[in-house]
């Protein structure tokens, strides 16, 4: 017999640890790309930190509003197995084949039975400080983590529940729960699962500010943390969004934020910058001002304002100059009680010039930093995952998402403090990298649900069935549910109506199916809770019964009726009847909608052959997709060809040449150099791009990775004196240990050259770190040299702060200048004279410089970008960089489906971050490429050709670019693949020629007619 030595087959599943926004994004990307996902969360619901935030910078979107669609998508996804209350005990095995041991703690509530109605919690006598609300108020021992939580199910806190302590002591919840979901005898479970790769995204912990006694937290009641302040602002917070001091309920008129609490502090082992606090403090100050009906004074005490992200500098500028937030560059020594009986906080600080002074505030908010998650330290030890000295994950160099252990990836704040968009990006990148190793087992474990064939209802008499829900006592105790059902029976088309205790329970679902069969129902109406949470479930029931899911209509008589009219049962019942009538009238006009399938081309086009583009191409190829890589220049490599040193000392030329080698030898990648895009047709799944050589490339997705330029300064004698150079030019001198560096006595770096100025108001992000990195290299090559860095704010975010600390320790001199008093560079005998006004001394200092390095801006190639912007119908921002679909949650997507971006084309970023984003673009692109066809729900716009005049109004208003006027026929044509069904076209069409399937003018007016 032949001995077969075979590697065990890989597993087409991925474990995602932690279900904050990173975990959710990674799970969704993977599940949509053909992998089965186990999403493990230690809490009783997914969501992480985002649900607790009020608004998000820089768009000031409501955090929950933008998150909840993702929560729902993730929670309902057939291929995401969400396992809550669970910790990872161990991971054994190798890439492609890991065995994971999980421990699921008892929830004491069966989430498949719990309807989330909350009756149990109302009856529970035990009050417990609510962690979600930062302990500012109480919850019960049986609780739901937050209102919109998924799973929408309660959990019992065993340490607080009376019955858990003494079985006879209580049991009120058991009586209240009419669904029989509560079971105090549940026990913890150990589970084993098999996965091909692992993504760690456990997030971060809040810095405990009581460690720093001088800020008075825990002692002085009017010192709160920034997380507490988020809850104070939130409409779902402890005070319903009324801004008040938690101590005495007084409305604050003057609030201070103290930056860097638990960050940039070597004495307490937090030598890193937490990266997000400057922005969230500005946001909180802005939102607080918006909230208060009276003039509110706000002040932010800071050292360096680190608004380095995309559009952040503009946000800062607006806060200071338009919103009127006061920014005080200072060192805060302590916060004490004002001592005048007001309870106010007295903040003692040294101002910019070193003068010690104080100011009183009603409330002080500590901008607390991000700590690594404590429970990961043990697990990392067990798994052999390397942590850095602060116990954050030590990611593998220039991978963006790699750990030291192959097959295990990291995303989110656990890799280093970062904000939401960067977390989302990294999550998509981790999805891409973890899928890259599993391409051969893609779609082997994912499930597809089969349904019976659909009953043809065309031409049938409308037969409506109405199901009215009691929701335990949630609806039934206010609305007279049986009378609503009875009323429904009197309505036209209704042939069946009944009331149920819980319409959403398993047994009622069977009853609905029976009723459909028995009464030949061809329209189904459920009057219960919110369609936002339950409509997909009921539609599923219809599909299982062979009815088209769009023959369903739902009306909300709980959240928008019984719960909000609790003291007016009669009027609430009248309203419920009206709502049912409206639903019945509308339902009569509903028609089946069939989903639309279009062919899908599985090749990808990557525009730009720099590090971002090449990284995308390589990763796409690993996923098994063919790639066209188009580069305008004659060589690959882009800007990275001019970079020698990574921010952490990596050898960039070796990295780039390796990447070029991979790209050029990969059979799946076709490289085109020296060509540009000259024309584009088509849409997602079916693009046809013509390149300047005349060749037409057919592809399903496009990744724009066109990079950026270095600003050529016109200031500081650049171009006139060869001793004045840019950082990229300096990079070359350093690599060659040029005489200019070796023999220099004084070298000056000037920051913000062409950035943060009216013409280019954004921060170029990378220059502070790069300058300091170079300054240190100068010191290495020429220890005798004096190195000066002239700056406005030092923005060495995250662990780059360590470089700043090192630079100061090594004697590099940092001098801050003001925008209105910039340094002056003049030619002098044998060199240059740089004059700068020192911010502490307030007097001009003259430096005889041998070399001046200008940190010049990262600039968008505007013309090139605007051409691509028109070709692919994607927008640019005011600075000429590509503008993503959503600044927060869709950082590499465009509103136009099938087009993605990465790298400097999106905005200034360092090489490692570009690698990250390049993989993220792949992660997102794979969600499209993995599909055999493009299938859309079909709730799209449709045109009545007889009425359409082809005026183009719909084309103008369509945000998805899904409608175009056919010039020959002079009628609008809808592309179902692109249409999102928003209906802006139908509302704008004067002729009434365009309508939305499932939401037609007739259907909506029928609801009005019912009133």
């Amino acid at each position: 017999m032949l001995q077969m030595s075979e590697k065990p087959a890989k597993v087409g599943a991925v474990l995602v640890v932690g279900s904050g926004i990173a975990g959710i994004q990674a799970s969704l990307d993977l599940a949509e790309s053909g992998y089965y996902v186990y999403l493990v969360e230690k809490n009783s619901a997914i969501g992480g930190i985002m649900p607790a935030l009020d608004k998000t910078f820089p768009t000031n979107d409501c955090s929950m509003c933008i998150l909840s669609p993702k929560l729902v998508d993730c929670g309902r996804h057939l291929n995401v197995n969400t396992i809550t209350n669970t910790e990872v005990l161990d991971i054994q095995g190798e890439p492609g084949n890991f065995k994971v041991t999980l421990k699921q703690k008892a929830r004491y509530v069966d989430p498949t039975k719990c309807t989330g109605c909350g009756s149990c919690s109302e009856q529970c006598p035990v009050k417990v400080p609510d962690e979600f609300n930062q302990r500012l108020n109480n919850r019960k021992a049986i609780y739901k983590l937050y209102a919109q939580a998924f799973p929408n199910a309660y959990a019992i806190d065993p340490t607080k529940c009376l019955r858990m302590k003494k079985p006879k002591a209580c049991g009120k919840c058991l009586q209240a729960c009419q669904a029989g979901a509560i079971d105090h005898t549940m026990t913890d479970q150990i589970m084993e699962i098999e996965v091909g790769s692992v993504i760690l995204c456990p997030g971060f912990e809040k810095f405990d500010s009581s460690q720093l006694a001088y800020y008075g937290y825990g002692k002085h009641p009017n010192v709160v943390t920034s997380m507490e302040f988020e809850r104070l602002l939130s409409a779902s917070g402890p005070f319903g969004g009324h801004l008040q001091r938690p101590s005495d309920g007084k409305e604050p008129h003057k609030i201070a934020w103290i930056q860097c609490v638990g960050s940039r502090n070597c004495r307490i082992d937090r030598g890193y910058c937490s990266s997000v606090c400057c922005m969230y403090a500005i946001k909180e100050a802005e939102i607080a001002k918006e909230h208060s009906p009276y003039p509110l004074e706000t002040a932010i005490f800071f050292m360096d304002m680190r608004t380095y992200g995309k559009d952040f500098e503009q946000y800062y500028h607006k806060a200071e100059h338009e919103v009127g937030v006061r920014f005080i560059r200072s060192r805060v020594y302590e916060i004490v009680e004002a001592g005048d009986g007001s309870g106010n906080c007295r903040i003692r600080y040294a101002d910019d010039a070193g003068n010690i002074t104080y100011e009183d505030f009603d409330l002080a908010v500590l901008s607390i930093g991000l700590d690594p998650p404590a429970d990961m330290i043990e697990l990392a030890g067990k798994l052999g995952i390397k942590l850095n000295k602060y116990n954050f994950c030590q990611s593998a160099p220039l991978t963006g998402v790699g750990t030291n252990r192959p097959g295990i990836f990291v995303a989110g704040a656990f890799s280093s403090p970062r904000d939401i968009p960067e977390t989302v990006m990294q999550a998509s990148a981790a999805a891409a990298d973890s899928a890259a190793g599993l391409a051969e087992v893609r779609s082997t474990l994912t499930k597809i649900k089969e349904y019976p064939s659909e009953i043809d209802v065309a031409g049938e008499i409308v037969r409506t069935g109405v199901f009215v829900c009691h929701c335990g006592i949630n609806i039934g105790s206010v609305v007279n549910v049986p009378s609503v059902a009875e009323y429904a029976r009197t309505l036209p088309t209704v042939v069946f109506a009944t009331d149920n205790l819980y319409t959403c329970s398993q047994d009622t679902s069977a009853q609905i199916k029976d009723a459909i069969r028995e009464h030949n129902l061809n329209r189904v109406i459920v009057a219960s809770c919110s369609p936002r949470t339950h409509e997909p479930m009921f539609q599923e029931t219809l599909k299982e019964a062979g009815l088209n899911p769009n023959l369903f209509e739902m009306t909300n008589i709980r959240d928008q009726c019984s719960w909000v009219h609790m003291h007016e049962p009669e009027k609430a019942t009248e309203k419920a009847k009206d709502l049912v009538k409206m639903a019945v009238y509308r339902a009569a006009l509903l028609e089946p909608i069939s989903s639309v399938s279009l062919d899908m081309n599985h090749d990808a086009l990557v525009i730009g052959g720099g590090v971002s583009g090449m990284t995308s191409a390589v990763n796409l190829s690993k996923q098994g997709y063919k790639v066209f890589l188009v580069e305008k220049a004659d060589v690959l490599g882009g800007t990275a060809n001019r970079i020698r040193y990574g921010m952490n000392g990596e050898d960039i030329p070796a990295f780039v040449s390796n990447l070029i080698n991979q790209v050029t030898t990969d059979e799946k990648i076709t490289v085109y150099t020296g060509v540009e895009i000259s024309d584009v047709h088509g849409f997602v799944g079916n693009f046809e791009t013509t390149i300047s050589s005349g060749e037409v490339l057919k592809h399903g997705v496009t990744i724009i990775a066109t990079g950026a330029d270095e600003y050529k300064p016109t200031e500081y004698l650049y171009g006139q004196n060869d001793r004045v150079i840019t950082l990229l030019e300096m990079e070359a001198l350093l690599a060659e240990v040029d005489n200019k560096v070796r023999d220099a006595k004084n070298i000056v770096f000037i920051q913000c050259v062409g950035s943060r100025e009216p013409e280019r108001p954004y921060c170029s992000r990378i220059c502070c770190t790069k300058s300091i990195k170079q300054a240190l290299l100068v010191k290495e090559a020429n220890p005798e040299a004096n190195v000066y860095v002239l700056y406005r704010d030092i923005r060495t975010y995250a662990f780059y702060e360590e470089l700043y600390t090192e630079a100061r320790r090594k004697g590099i001199i940092f001098i801050r200048y003001e925008l209105d008093n910039k340094p002056v560079v003049e030619a002098a005998d044998n060199g240059l004279k740089v004059t700068v006004t020192d911010h502490v001394l307030g007097i001009p200092i003259e430096i005889e410089a041998d070399l001046v390095a200008l940190a010049s801006a990262v600039m968008s190639p505007r013309e090139n970008n605007s051409k691509l912007s028109q070709f692919y119908k994607v927008p640019l921002n005011q600075d000429g960089f590509f503008l993503e679909a959503h600044m927060k949650l869709r950082p590499v997507d465009f509103g136009t489906d099938g087009v993605f971006m990465c790298g400097l084309a999106h905005g200034p970023k360092n090489l490692e971050e570009n690698v990250n984003q390049a993989k993220a673009a792949v992660g997102r692109a794979c969600t499209v490429l993995a599909k055999n066809t493009i299938t859309v729900e079909g709730k799209s716009a449709f045109v009545n050709k007889n009425k359409c005049t082809g005026c183009g109004e719909c084309e103008n208003v369509c945000p998805a670019k899904a409608v175009q006027v056919d010039p020959e026929q002079r009628v609008a044509v809808v592309n179902d693949a692109l249409c999102k069904g928003c209906g802006a076209c139908a509302s704008s069409c004067r002729c009434g020629a365009i309508n939305i399937k499932g939401c037609t003018n007739q259907q909506l007016v029928a609801m009005l007619d019912a009133l």
Binding site: K947, T949, C951, E953, V957, R990, C991, N1001, V1005
Partner: protein
């Protein structure tokens, strides 16, 4: 004027003879004075009947849609603005259109003339530079042209065609934009007063839809008012509410598109002050978005374009 008429005839004949166009749309003399009538010349001989007078008031842009072949049009300032607006809405193909632009100082309003003659029939009109001699049965009145212009012409600052292929006559000096005093006065009224005014004005409406038919921008295949599924508003003229809503929605549909030619008001047999509504939107669009309809081929449709500095005046913010 007659000189212009001769030039128009000449231009039209040339175009038709050389077969550059299949049709010239212009004006011919009406059967009565002050009743200049749109005229379709398909042969050089027919072109002889073309004319140009102070009564060429119809907006000829209204006759150009769905005309096969190449069409030339004799177009004054407001006609050309409508043409521009229609080109932008894909209703006219610029390539198939030949614009014979005629700078226009305004057309005269026969209702104002009739008032001068105290209702007597007008038998003849003599043009005399800036003045007119109007002859009735046994009287004649001399009046300034400027005093007899249509209100829309009085307020018009686009007498010169904004685009053309051929210009007849000389371009007129720039005219300052008119004020919006009547609109401001209307806006200054109380809600109740405005309501009363609308009620009295629209109780006159007989739903003949002449306004809609005269308007070059009202080209829907089916007007919202004729739609049955759903029925948006009642169709009977007896209901003043519905009459008001008809006009309000019609005007709303014209917001940002109306070139203020006044065709609707001239067409109204009941003398309803329709321009008050259309001009209100002209004012609003000008004030809110600094835009005017049909003044160039480049401007994006104002109400279908979003910019970051949108005034968003309708939004109630938190």
């Amino acid at each position: 004027m007659s000189k212009l008429a001769e030039q128009i005839k000449g231009a039209a004949k040339k175009l038709l003879t050389e077969k550059k166009v299949d049709l010239v749309v212009g004006f011919t003399e009406g059967s009565l004075p002050l009743r200049g009538t749109p005229f379709f010349a398909r042969t050089p001989e027919e072109a002889d009947q073309l004319t140009w007078n102070l009564d060429c008031e119809n907006n000829l842009a209204n006759y150009l849609r769905k005309k096969p072949g190449k069409v030339a049009v004799v177009a004054k300032g407001c006609d050309v603005r409508s043409i521009v607006a229609l080109i932008k809405e894909n209703q006219l193909n610029r390539d198939n259109l030949y614009i014979i632009g005629v700078p226009c100082r305004g057309m005269i309003d026969r209702r104002k003339v009739a008032e001068l003659l105290s209702g007597q029939e007008v038998l003849a009109i003599e043009e005399n530079g800036d003045t007119l001699v109007i002859k009735g049965n046994n009287s004649s009145v001399t009046a300034k042209v400027a005093d007899l212009l249509h209100n829309s012409c009085r307020d018009c600052s686009y007498g010169n065609p904004v685009i053309y292929d051929e210009l007849i006559g000389e371009l007129l000096p720039e005219k300052e934009a008119a004020d919006f005093n009547e609109i401001k006065a209307f806006e200054a009224k109380t809600t109740a007063e405005r309501r009363a005014f609308m009620n009295s004005e629209f109780s006159k409406c007989i739903r003949c839809y002449a306004c809609r038919n005269a308007c070059p921008m009202c080209y829907c295949e089916e007007c919202f008012v004729d739609c049955n599924q759903p029925e948006w508003i009642g169709k009977s003229a007896y209901n003043v509410e519905d009459n008001i809503l008809f006009q309000v929605v019609r005007v709303f549909h014209l917001a940002g598109r109306c070139v203020d030619c006044g065709a609707c008001e001239r067409a109204c047999p009941m003398g309803i002050n329709l321009r008050l509504l259309t001009r209100k939107t002209v004012k609003d669009v000008k004030e809110l978005f600094n835009a005017e309809a049909g003044v160039n081929l480049e401007d994006k449709p104002v109400l279908a374009t979003f910019t970051n500095d949108d005034p968003e005046a309708f939004l109630l913010k938190e």
